[in-house]
């Protein structure tokens, strides 16, 4: 399959869908919903085709506006390039899959809300922004798409403007997010002033030739801004407000995708592909490991004491980001060794797995809120009796996130435990403590669900098809992925890490072996 021919459609289709939504909306409610499903479904098809193509053929480079990224008679790139390696392709697949399911789920879930033409426009733009980040090979272009993603998510968090918490969380998220974006823009400006190029791969060459203090200050700004966006611990407070306040379909996308694309993916891309060998990987790795350990403990411990179901899931997201950051940190600190490779493979694998699990759990929380009108765990006892399918799906999601062996969370967490225990036993112990808290939190929820039914729950029923099917698909995906953990790890995740660590291949794909 020709990857370069299909890559542009990954942007064209959602862009066209979003900009045509106000016109399609004139045809009525049915047309608008069908259009949103068609657009996100087509994006999913393109995303899977792209993933397959990159998996077969390796790095894909696409220049916008010319055949070659290099200018005439010079050896540096002058145009914007897209560069998709296997890591980027995994992110593309993850975004398009969860995005499609969230759109389908919205058909039932958002039925009683107003302003839905704007809602579908924004959700498609959110997906567009994340895809743009995953495929870009240009630093300023990365910033533009980070802003598209962020602005769409600010608006979507506050979408229910008649609830106090929506507006409050939206304001908080917007202020914090804008400051984080400003950090990143400042970093890009410093790098451009020093090195005169914005293409990631050429910037890597320039950095290796002449590492300066400016580059280190820019790196500090990048790390600070991106840790904000990923919800790492000292700055996770916006996440714990924003994810519960958003409509559940949006929480699923925020928790499953936004914090990973805008945080983890961008961090890994900047650290491995741009800074590569020009800074001390060990130091940067340890900085990230420290934040990862704080995030792990704080996120999972705070999840245990929550009484609000969505807030519990939001804190659990913080905790799981801690695992991913731990894998990333060890991958940097033990760069080039097998331990580092396994840790990074665990981080990428867990990113994908957590996107599926957390999307599943948030969609279920949405079903519960939709049917019962409450998300207070004290009022939800005995849900298993009246909503058996939903409860069963929750059981699968909870077991997967804790890391039970037959499900997908086991393999990815195992890779992180194993590598952290080899790298430094204390880190392994911290990871286990985090999991203990995480287990306690989910057992608490399950204990409630299987308890004695209270009156409120008796009227509840399993939801309609458009809300049930995305949940079923995600649950099946979790189980099926759980059946082949080591095959997936060997065939996809390890090659993705090898591609990410091979900075030379990333550079020479754009510069043509120069």
């Amino acid at each position: 399959m020709n990857g370069e021919a299909i890559l542009p459609y990954l942007i064209i289709i959602p862009l066209f869908g979003a900009f045509s939504m106000p016109i399609v909306n004139l045809l009525g409610r049915k047309a608008r919903e069908a259009w949103a499903v068609i657009i996100s479904g087509a994006t999913l098809a393109v995303g899977s085709a792209l993933f397959y193509s990159v998996w077969e053929n390796g790095i894909l480079v696409y220049t916008l506006g010319a055949k070659s990224p290099l200018g005439q008679g010079v050896s540096f790139p002058i145009r914007i390039v897209w560069e998709v390696d296997l890591f980027g392709a995994i992110m593309v697949l993850m975004v398009t899959l969860v995005g499609f399911l969230a759109v389908v789920y919205s058909l039932g879930y958002m039925k009683h809300d107003t302003g839905l033409d704007k809602y579908y426009t924004l959700i498609i733009i959110l997906e567009l922004g994340m895809l743009g980040i995953a495929i870009t090979g240009d630093l300023f272009n990365f910033y533009v798409f980070l802003e598209i993603m962020s602005i769409a998510s600010y608006a979507l968090v506050a979408f229910r403007n008649d609830t106090w918490e929506g507006i409050e969380a939206g304001i908080k998220y917007m202020f914090v997010g804008s400051i984080a974006s400003a950090f990143i823009l400042l970093g890009i400006a410093l790098l451009y002033g020093q090195y005169g190029t914005l293409t990631m791969s050429y910037l890597a060459v320039k950095l290796a030739q002449n590492p300066t203090v400016t580059a280190k200050v820019a790196l500090a700004l990048f790390i600070a801004g991106l840790l904000f966006k990923s919800g790492a611990s000292p700055v996770h407070m916006w996440l714990a407000d924003a994810h519960p306040a958003a409509p559940s379909s949006i929480s699923a996308m925020l928790s499953g995708l936004v914090i990973k694309i805008g945080g983890i993916y961008a961090l890994a891309r900047i650290l491995f592909s741009i800074y590569g060998h020009s800074v001390s990987m060990k130091t940067v790795g340890w900085v990230i490991i420290i934040f990862a350990c704080i995030t792990l403990i704080v996120g999972n411990a705070m999840a245990v004491i929550q009484n609000d179901m969505k807030r519990l899931l939001a804190y659990s997201s913080v905790g799981q980001i801690g695992y991913i950051l731990l894998g990333l940190g060890i991958g940097l600190a033990a760069y080039g060794s097998q331990t580092g490779e396994i840790a990074m493979a665990g981080a990428i694998y867990h990113t994908f797995n957590h996107a599926l699990m957390k999307a599943l759990l948030f969609l279920i929380a949405g079903v519960v809120i939709h049917q019962l009108g409450t998300r207070d765990l004290n009022e939800l006892s005995g849900l298993a009796k009246t909503m058996p399918k939903t409860t069963f799906a929750f059981l699968i999601g909870a077991a997967a996130i804790i890391g039970m062996p037959p499900l997908n969370g086991f393999a990815s967490k195992w890779l992180i435990y194993e590598s952290s225990a080899i790298f430094n036993p204390i880190l392994g112990a911290i990871a286990i403590i985090g999991t203990a808290f995480c287990t306690a939190a989910y057992v608490k929820v399950l204990y409630t669900f299987f308890g004695r039914p209270n009156e409120r729950v008796m009227k509840a029923r399993d939801p309609e098809g458009s809300m049930l099917w995305p949940i079923i698909i995600l649950a099946v995906a979790i189980v099926v992925m759980g059946l082949f953990p080591w095959q997936i790890s060997d065939k996809v995740m390890i090659p993705a890490v090898k591609a990410l660590e091979n900075q030379l291949a990333y550079i020479s794909a754009v510069l043509g072996g120069a």
Binding site: V74, I78, G115, K118, I125, L128, F145, E147, A155
Partner: protein
Amino acid sequence: MKRTIAYLSLLFILGALLYVANPNYGLKFGPGGKEWLTLRYTDNYYIEHGVQEVGGTNIVTDIVFDYRGYDTIGEATVLFTAIAGAIALLRPWRRDEK
């Protein structure tokens, strides 16, 4: 306590940025002559080849709409998103409509 730490870290960031802004250690201001070609080689390329490659005599629009046109699409999308978001949030409340 928190506030003190916050102001101290702001001070530290300001110090680091001032250090970087010093031409002796970090960024050069108004690079000319030989420095122009080592620091602003892409800009030089745009100026030399812009008219012939793109056809516009205004270099800024050449860059914004041709060389880096994709970023401009992105900026248009940002504006569109901001408008869609603002309209979505300023719509009447659900219970007011009935």
